[in-house]
């Protein structure tokens, strides 16, 4: 990863929140990178640390209670974790722009759309109000809002959810950012509007060549948008790889569970959905071993004691799982719903020898 300079490179990031109840280890050693023109999707359940990760990239978490314990966020040859809040302002909105999930609470309700957007441009660039205004109207048109001049004068509450999300995207694009961070941009929208917004983000990426980091829990959205995927669980990225690697050759049991719990849209199957039993661990005291061990049906003794490291599977594809250790035999993703067959004979021997705790 050192031979090529990535647009954004995050290394070994640890973020904790100091609360009265103790330290919440929200992000525990995350590595990822993103290049211009590509889309990285970060998938995971709520509370797995995906939002904290990208908010840390933009340094949006108030510090304290948030604390970057370790790690680097490298952008343009500089480490953003060392920047002061004042220095970060030059990046936010200009280099990185964020699209939030809930456009209603992210737009200022007492300020007209146009005013909010002109303000954003004037902060970063030396332009007159008039120039900024014409740019804003052009942007509003570009994101598919009919009548951009009218929208310019309107208040956020007069727009529908889809329109507000378009305004958010227009606002994010105003200063031509090189990275667009989208935190569940379509979760609150209907499927048809979602399809429109996703299409819009793709078109914009094609036009401007910006990188997109997309956070979502919808695997369908991932399949539609992403070039590369990172699966997060309990503050760690348990599997990373290209879209096809992760969907067609997943190697981590959590990824299997996630993929299995989505019903197949094309074909009605009568098999049960492969749900993952239990719930994620408490991040006040993350388990000593693998965080997924308590819910994993292939859990072995070693999983409870030691946290697995990132094991490369193929070029650009890696996972954190002891099953990928050479001693564990060869394991492949089972067909959905038939997870009993997942354990290969070699694996079964290994579990027997190792006395694995089969949950």
């Amino acid at each position: 990863m050192t031979d090529r300079k990535h647009l954004l490179n995050v290394e070994n990031l640890h973020v904790s929140f100091d609360t009265y109840a103790g330290e919440v280890k929200a992000v525990r050693g995350v590595n990822f990178y993103v290049d211009g023109g590509e889309t990285l999707a970060i998938v995971g359940e709520s509370g797995c640390g995906k939002s904290v990760t990208i908010q840390t990239v933009m340094r949006l978490n108030p510090e304290p209670p948030a604390r970057i314990k370790e790690g680097r966020v490298e952008y343009g040859g500089e480490d953003l974790t060392k920047k002061t809040d004042r220095e970060m302002r030059a990046y936010r909105g200009k280099e990185f722009a964020m699209i939030f999930q809930d456009a209603m609470t992210s737009l200022n309700p007492v300020s007209r759309i146009g005013k909010q957007m002109v303000e954003a441009i004037c902060i970063h660039e030396k332009v007159t109000k008039e120039e900024a205004k014409s740019r804003v109207i052009q942007m509003l048109g570009k994101v598919g809002l009919s009548n951009p001049e009218t929208v310019f004068r309107r208040y956020p509450h007069t727009l529908s959810g889809g329109q507000r999300q378009r305004v958010m995207i227009a606002m994010a694009l105003c200063c031509h950012p090189s990275i667009l961070l989208a935190d569940e941009p379509t979760t609150a929208l209907d499927v048809t509007t979602q399809a429109q917004i996703l299409r819009l983000m793709k078109d914009i990426q094609k036009d401007t060549g910006c990188a997109i980091i997309l956070i979502t829990h919808n695997l369908g959205v991932v399949a539609r948008m992403a070039d590369r995927v990172a699966v997060m669980y309990a503050g760690q990225m348990v599997e990373k790889g290209s879209l096809r690697d992760v969907f067609y050759h997943p190697r981590h049991p959590y990824t299997w569970g996630l993929l299995g719990s989505m019903p197949d849209m094309q074909e009605r199957t009568d098999t049960r959905l492969a749900s993952i039993p239990g719930s994620p661990p408490d991040l006040f005291a993350p388990p000593k071993g693998c965080a997924f061990a308590a819910r994993c049906r292939y859990c072995m003794e070693v999983c409870l004691e030691h946290n697995p490291g990132e094991t490369p599977v193929s070029e650009g594809h890696c996972a954190r799982c002891w099953l990928l250790d050479e001693r564990a035999g060869n394991l492949v993703k089972p067909p959905v719903g038939r997870d009993e067959e997942l354990v290969t004979p070699a694996m079964r021997d290994y579990i027997k020898k190792g006395g694995g705790a089969d949950v």
Binding site: T192, Q194, G220, R224, L258, S261, R268, S275
Partner: protein
């Protein structure tokens, strides 16, 4: 339990809300469908299309403004008093928001036994608590949870409590109003599997309201698609999902992202449905979908199409289909 009997028959159901200044919001307009005993009808559509209003009118949380609701052969659209109480025992609802639908001042035990008390099930508090313990175990919680308050539970656990509450009174019919929408994928799968198990073991009939088409397809036997207060298509799942007849259903299915990269890549060049849902306040005389429909004609703007058969057990409301077939 013969296959043919319909537990619920809804005919021309109407529910209007007055929104002031003579304006009327047509939330549900002439909706008709049937739900055979022991099956699941999925009800899908965009937000604001009236699916929740349908669910709430069925269990009589709203008073219908017209039409018939036949439950087990009896018209329940006007029942009152004792009859209505018995009805609420037989028809239960699981709500979308597991945070708002449980009383924060009640323990889980009290939440579950309240319905038992109202309907006089179980002699005495002790026996009712025993029933509650049994239900908690049935939905995958522990009996110790009965003494806890809702805020101590996660979203998935709360939804289990909500389900235990509705099962407590031994209903025939449950309306699941976006019951899994607020949950994470893996937890959704847990709840859906549980719903399927209960249907099998207790012969329950569900109306499953959701906007997630893939889950609806998985759980239901038949699906009704709603658009702006009207049912535009209804039929067996195989028909509706594999051969959608109505242009709205086609657009909706097109829009659902599928967790299959190859399939998505193939679809990425196709057109997507544009526009947004228009207002249900004082709608025009024509087809509700005419403002977004790619095949719109003058007739669509003037005349509302009726549901017509387009295949076995498959109805759709579109003028274009009538001319074609």
């Amino acid at each position: 339990m013969s296959e043919k009997t319909d537990l619920l028959v809804v005919e021309n159901l109407k529910k209007y809300f007055s929104v002031g200044r003579g304006k009327v919001l047509h939330a549900v307009d002439n909706v008709s469908f049937t739900v055979p005993r022991g099956t699941t009808l999925g009800l899908v559509g965009e937000s604001g299309c009236g699916k929740t209003t349908v669910g709430r009118t069925l269990v009589r949380l709203y008073e219908p403004d017209g039409g018939k609701i036949l439950f087990d052969g009896q018209d329940i659209s006007g029942v009152r008093g004792r009859e209505k109480r018995e009805l609420t025992r037989r028809m239960q609802m699981v709500y979308q928001d597991p945070y708002a639908s449980l009383n924060p001042f009640f323990t889980v035990g009290e939440i579950i036994t309240e319905g038992l008390e109202i309907h006089g099930i179980g002699a005495g508090k002790k026996e009712r608590m025993e029933i509650a313990y049994g239900l908690l175990e049935k939905v995958g919680l522990h009996r110790e949870h009965a003494n806890r308050f809702p805020h101590e539970f996660s979203g998935g656990q709360r939804q289990r409590v909500g389900l235990a509450r509705s099962l407590a009174v031994n209903p025939d019919f449950i309306v699941c109003d976006e019951a899994i929408s607020a949950l994470d994928v893996s937890v959704q799968a847990q709840i859906v599997n549980m719903l399927c198990d209960f249907q099998e073991s207790m012969g329950l009939t569900y109306l499953f309201i959701a906007h997630d088409l893939s889950m609806v397809r998985y759980i239901s036997d038949r699906t009704a698609v709603m658009y702006l207060g009207t049912v535009v298509e209804v039929g067996d799942n195989r028909e509706v999902y594999d051969h959608p007849a109505h242009p709205y259903t086609q657009g909706l299915l097109q829009a659902v992202p599928v967790a299959d990269p190859d399939y998505e890549q193939e679809r990425s060049r196709q057109n997507i449905m544009l526009g947004e849902v228009s207002s249900p306040v004082n709608p025009g005389p024509g087809c509700r979908f005419c403002s977004r429909c790619p095949h719109v004609t003058e007739r669509c703007r003037q005349e509302m199409p009726a549901l017509r058969p387009v295949g076995t057990g498959h109805l759709a409301a579109c003028h274009a289909l009538e001319q074609g077939g």
